[in-house]
């Protein structure tokens, strides 16, 4: 199945540090992650995103260029998902299979907090 077409970078960078850039995307409405999330930026990302996501409906996260995400990063995304819910969801696109495996091993795959978007190849 084809990946959804994300809009090109709009200049609306909502978060940037030396190993991660997060930009808004417009179609679908959401955020694109490029880089790595670990202990050094997971806390900052969690606070930044909660602020940014106010007002959005379901939020599509383009994670195709998220090349690394540690347990603290997954926890940060989960915290964001829980903060925007319960009526809205984070829809994950292009999550690397090894990160998905980490989510399952550490026992966070059963929550409804994030969903693998139906238009994505590795959707569940």
């Amino acid at each position: 199945m084809a990946d959804p077409v994300f809009s090109p970078p709009s200049g609306r960078t909502v978060y940037r540090d030396r190993q991660l850039v997060v930009d808004r995307t417009e179609r679908p409405l959401g955020l694109r992650f490029v880089g790595e999330i670990d202990l050094t930026n997971s806390g900052a990302i969690s606070s930044a995103l909660r602020h940014v996501l106010d007002g959005l409906a379901n939020i599509h996260l383009d994670l195709r260029q998220l090349v690394f995400c540690d347990v603290s990063g997954i926890r940060a995304l989960l915290n964001v998902a829980e903060a925007v819910g319960p009526d809205r969801r984070l829809l994950l696109h292009g999550l690397a299979p090894e990160i998905e495996r980490v989510i399952r091993v550490v026992g966070w795959s059963d929550g409804a907090a994030f969903s693998f978007c139906g238009c994505e190849e590795n959707a569940e």
Binding site: L39, T40, V71, R101, V105, G107
Partner: protein, 324 residues
């Protein structure tokens, strides 16, 4: 011995010297459990599972079997499997298990981790439900000192003829030879990096390159790097803020060692299933499920963690079954 009075975890080594003794000891144990309608879970080699199927006939259908080569390839995954078994039968007054984690082909590193696992079973189940675990030991193929350690880690020792209290039993503590022997210093060419909070990303790149150049397959690189990163993160958060990583190749393994100045006294920390709701630690649990073996030694001088991964390998079956 009657099991009617069993009120707590009973850890028993079954010493056998040939297949006849193995079958006699295990089948009697299984049948006694089935007669009492007790859940029975057997974690053995595929060959022994087939042998038990043949010996038990139709009764085998009432027994749950699992392959120790999958469940216990990394012995730190065995206690969670037993915990799942006990938890799955909340209504049973007594349960029985057979588990043979130690066989002659184990590497020295796997062997000592299996021996630590056997000792830790006493700690893990000391305060819990009553169940009876029988651990077969092959006296014909295992060294005498392995049998001697089995007598220290098991409260009871039986043969196909007898059951005795082990006078050598030392419960769950790990401060004895061989369980607390320091790691051997590697003789192979090593790549070494110091790291702190601001160099975790660089550490991941270095470990990836070091493991790749030592032949680790592309399919396991990400798992290995993720495991190393979590252990190094523990050093940054709990272990003094910094650490030293070393990578080398040993036989068919790539090993990464993480050393820091922290000290923790919780030998079950790496095998406690994380609570999905809680912000509980997950790094060591993850490492145990991504790597083929994890060795942890922690004391006043600091903590050393060695992560082992096979160069020609696929993600473990145990991980894949977790996916379902």
């Amino acid at each position: 011995m009657s099991t009617a009075t069993l009120e707590r975890f009973r850890h028993e080594a079954l010493l056998y010297s040939d297949w006849t003794e193995f079958v006699a000891g295990t089948v009697r144990f299984i049948r006694e459990g089935l007669d009492r309608h007790e859940p029975v879970f057997v974690v053995e080699s595929q060959q022994k599972i087939e042998m038990l199927h043949a010996a038990l006939g139709d009764s085998a259908d009432k027994v749950t079997f699992a392959n120790m080569a999958e469940v216990g390839a990394n012995p730190a995954r065995i206690i969670p499997a037993w915990q799942d078994f006990v938890a799955a039968h909340a209504d049973a007054t007594l349960l029985r298990g057979i588990g043979e984690p130690i066989w002659a082909g184990r590497t020295p590193e796997e062997l000592v981790e299996c021996q630590r696992h056997e000792a830790l079973l006493n700690t893990a189940f000391a305060a819990g439900r009553a169940w009876w675990l029988l651990c077969p030991y092959d006296t014909a193929h295992l060294p005498q000192e392995v049998i001697a350690e089995a007598r220290r880690s098991h409260e009871f020792v039986s043969t196909s003829q007898s059951i005795d209290l082990s006078k050598d039993f030392q419960s769950g503590h790990l401060s004895r030879t061989p369980l607390d022997l320091p790691f051997a210093e590697p003789t192979q060419t090593m790549t070494r990096f110091s790291f702190n909070r601001s160099s975790l990303s660089a550490l991941r790149g270095e470990v990836r390159r070091a493991a790749e150049s030592r032949g680790l397959s592309a399919g396991r690189l990400a798992d290995f790097v993720a495991a190393v990163n979590e252990v190094a993160t523990n050093s940054v958060v709990h272990g003094g803020g910094r650490g030293v990583a070393r990578v080398w190749k040993d036989r068919d393994l790539v090993v990464c060692e993480i050393k820091d100045t922290g000290n923790f006294d919780d030998p079950l920390a790496d095998r406690r299933r994380p609570d999905p709701e809680a912000a509980s630690p997950r790094g060591l649990w993850l490492a145990n499920h991504l790597c083929d073996l994890v060795q942890i030694r922690s004391g006043p001088a600091g903590t050393v963690v060695r992560l082992h991964i096979k160069v020609e390998s696929h993600p473990r079956i145990a991980v894949l079954s977790d996916l379902n």
